[in-house]
């Protein structure tokens, strides 16, 4: 503010004598005084800030609103030029506005910040009529708009956040005038419908034309219902984009009534949910496929069961008859049967018995793959002792040297594991038959990823490792029946059992030196009482 202009001389509170050019004529000093006092009262009652500023830039007159708004006393305000209260950032614009007033232009709604006594600033909105030529002061009113400014700031902030959120969520927004059914939209809205450039005009009909023909009636119903009820609407539908692509969208809309309660406009959002829909569809499809596969598997299992049932019934019956009638024939012929013929009958009976064993083994093998596993913690020390007890009749006179390490507990089906161990131990007992000093060792190998390696080793006849892959096949034998008894299904069973437990089995052997079978089983978490025993 220019300082070369002369300073006003009035009292601190200022006087109307400097301000009033067109004051009403007074008839007496008394009347004048009373009018003056009344004017002063009104002046101070005004909520807006009113002032007179001299060309020297100092306040010449102020009302009480100034003190209230800026916290300074009138004396403090009079003491410094107005410009010193203006926020430094607003100096330039404020000076420019002041020049305008001087040049004879009215200033309306100019906003700048003025210092508050507490160091903060207040936003003021100014109104000042142009200064006529020859007048050396300015009348001005100002209004504290700090709160409005803050609200505006907040609104702008929340609008920015809303826009960010809509952008991030790829949501388009729209506002529909329900009288004209034309809509204003965000660019994203039009992009969702396949338009990179925002369209000139968009009506409800435009939208409906994009909706998939099969969904159109439902969507229109939803829309009409929402408008009629004046409430909210949410729906999903398919659209045909401008490029012909079929997409899925959801739409939300809310009707806002005017003051008379009529539904005038509808605000809403739209989003492309094609990816989600496709994901949902593929999840549903996968689920259906899984259910179907489970059903097929169950049907296959049922069929297998029925097949096994048939096999065991229908194959065993004729075998029983063969054996039965051989027996009856022997009895009927009595002593008259030549020795040779008697031997033939024995062979027939033996063949029948063997075939019966094969059928039983095969059925048992198929059962191992089918029956549900009953998982529990299995103490292998006990399990092995149980196996030895059941093999007692074969072990009794064999003078076998047993080396059995303390074994861990594993997780698995007790009955199946028992079968596997009994088979492997039984094999060792069987194939050490020719040895004078048979030795069988049961021990533990390395542990890995929750699985423990176990092994059963013997110094029996062993086998050639080049046939190792044949070992686990059904009815595969590396020895003739005359050498060692058996149908050749034992190791197939063992492998099936170990595999069903998530483990592996592999052999190491040498002809004449013996064989070792390694296999892995899931080790059980040590039970507290086991730990105490250690």
């Amino acid at each position: 503010m220019p300082h070369e202009t002369q300073r006003a001389t009035g009292s601190e509170s200022g006087t109307w004598s400097t301000a009033g050019r067109n004051r009403p004529a007074a008839t007496s000093v008394e009347e004048l005084r009373s009018q003056h006092a009344e004017m002063e009262r009104f002046f101070d009652m005004a909520l807006d800030m009113i002032c007179v500023v001299g060309t020297d830039g100092y306040f010449k007159k102020l009302n009480a609103a100034w003190e209230k708004t800026l916290g300074f006393t009138k004396a403090e305000l009079f003491a410094r030029p107005l410009m010193e209260f203006v926020h430094p950032d607003d100096h330039a614009v404020s000076m420019a506005e002041l020049q305008k007033v001087r040049r004879g232009v009215d200033v309306v709604s100019f906003e700048n910040r003025l210092l508050h006594r507490d160091g903060s600033h207040r936003w003021l909105s100014w109104k000042a009529p142009a200064i006529p030529p020859g007048q050396d002061f300015m009348y001005a009113t100002a209004r504290d708009v700090t709160e409005n400014k803050r609200a505006e700031e907040e609104l702008r902030g929340s609008q920015t956040r809303l826009k960010l959120a809509l952008d991030a969520a790829e949501i388009g927004d729209w506002e529909l005038n329900l009288e004209t059914e034309t809509a204003s939209r965000s660019p994203k809205h039009d992009q969702i419908f396949g338009y990179d450039e925002t369209q000139q005009e968009w009506t409800y009909a435009t939208f409906l034309a994009h909706v998939h023909p099969e969904d159109r009636e439902r969507v229109d119903g939803k829309f009409r219902e929402c408008v009629a009820s004046g409430g909210n609407s949410y729906f999903e539908c398919r659209i045909i984009r401008s490029d012909g692509a079929e997409r899925h969208i959801w739409v939300r809309g809310s009707v806002y009534p005017d003051e008379a309660g009529r539904s005038m406009r509808m605000l809403g959002m739209v989003r492309d949910i094609t990816d989600r829909k496709l994901a949902e569809e593929s999840v549903a499809r996968l689920g259906a496929e899984a259910i179907q596969r489970a059903a097929q598997l169950e049907a296959a299992n049922k069929e297998m069961e029925a097949f096994s049932y048939s096999v065991s019934h229908d194959l065993r019956a004729p075998l029983r008859h063969v054996q039965g009638y051989v027996e009856l024939l022997k009895k009927a012929a009595g002593d008259q049967l030549p020795e040779k013929a008697a031997r033939y009958l024995d062979v027939i009976a033996d063949a029948g018995r063997q075939m019966g064993q094969l059928i039983d083994d095969l059925l048992a093998f198929s059962r191992i793959g089918r029956t549900e596993m009953q998982r529990s913690t299995v103490n292998l020390d006990e399990l092995v002792q149980g196996c030895l007890l059941s093999l007692e009749s074969q072990i009794r006179d064999r003078n076998i040297l047993w080396r059995i390490a303390p074994l861990p507990a594993v997780t698995g089906d007790r009955a199946l594991l028992r079968q596997a161990f009994a088979n492997l131990i039984g094999n060792s007992v069987k194939y050490t038959g020719p040895r004078e000093r048979p030795e069988i060792e049961i021990g533990i190998g390395p542990r890995e990823a929750g699985y423990v390696t176990l092994f059963i080793r013997d110094n029996g006849v062993g086998f050639d490792m080049q046939f190792a892959d044949k070992l686990f096949g059904v009815f595969q034998r590396l020895h003739t029946t005359s050498e060692f008894e058996g149908t050749g299904i034992g190791l197939a069973n063992v492998r099936r059992i170990i595999t069903r437990h998530g483990g592996r089995i592999w052999p190491e052997a040498e002809v004449g030196k013996g064989a070792t079978f390694f296999f892995t089983l899931e080790e059980a978490m040590a039970a507290p009482h086991d730990a105490a025993e250690l």
Partner: protein
């Protein structure tokens, strides 16, 4: 032996003539000399028990024991068993199911229906004869049946 005046008969329900013959031989071999009546399917078994059709004129009275095969044409053994055990006039007759295998859901199902024993026919005739003998000795000679009832009328 029992003191009953009428002959204690065994009803064999068996579709295979060979099995029927082997069973008969096994019984003879083991001196279970009760009369053996053989029917070859489930429907005939029920006719026999209810004294109807071909059996309208048979000597009245329930058999002492029923040996029942499961796998039979027309009406299978479990259905015959269900009807016998569901009939107040028949259900006290001991029924032994004799079948070829232990495969399938038969065992528990038969017990649910009230079978008195379930026997898998051994393959070897010696063992089979032994099983038939054991059954005969126990159920016909040792076991005391409930008071005799007149045969059920249809």
């Amino acid at each position: 032996m029992n003191m009953m005046t009428h002959v204690r008969r065994i009803l064999l329900v068996e579709d295979s003539p060979q099995d029927a013959e082997l069973t008969r031989e096994a019984l003879i071999e083991n001196n279970v000399t009760n009369g053996l009546d053989h029917v070859s399917d489930g429907a005939a078994a029920l006719d026999y028990l209810h004294c109807r059709g071909a059996y309208a004129n048979r000597e009245n009275g329930n058999p002492t024991l029923i040996l029942l095969d499961l796998k039979m044409p027309k009406m299978d053994g479990t259905e015959v068993l269900r009807q016998i055990k569901g009939d107040p006039k028949l259900r006290t007759i001991p029924v032994i199911v004799m079948t070829s295998s232990r495969e399938g859901p038969d065992i528990s199902h038969c017990y649910e229906l009230g079978v008195n024993a379930f026997v898998v026919k051994p393959l070897a005739f010696g063992e089979f004869a032994e099983a038939v003998k054991t059954i005969g000795v126990f159920w016909v000679m040792l076991n005391e049946p409930p008071a005799p009832m007149p045969a059920a009328q249809s």
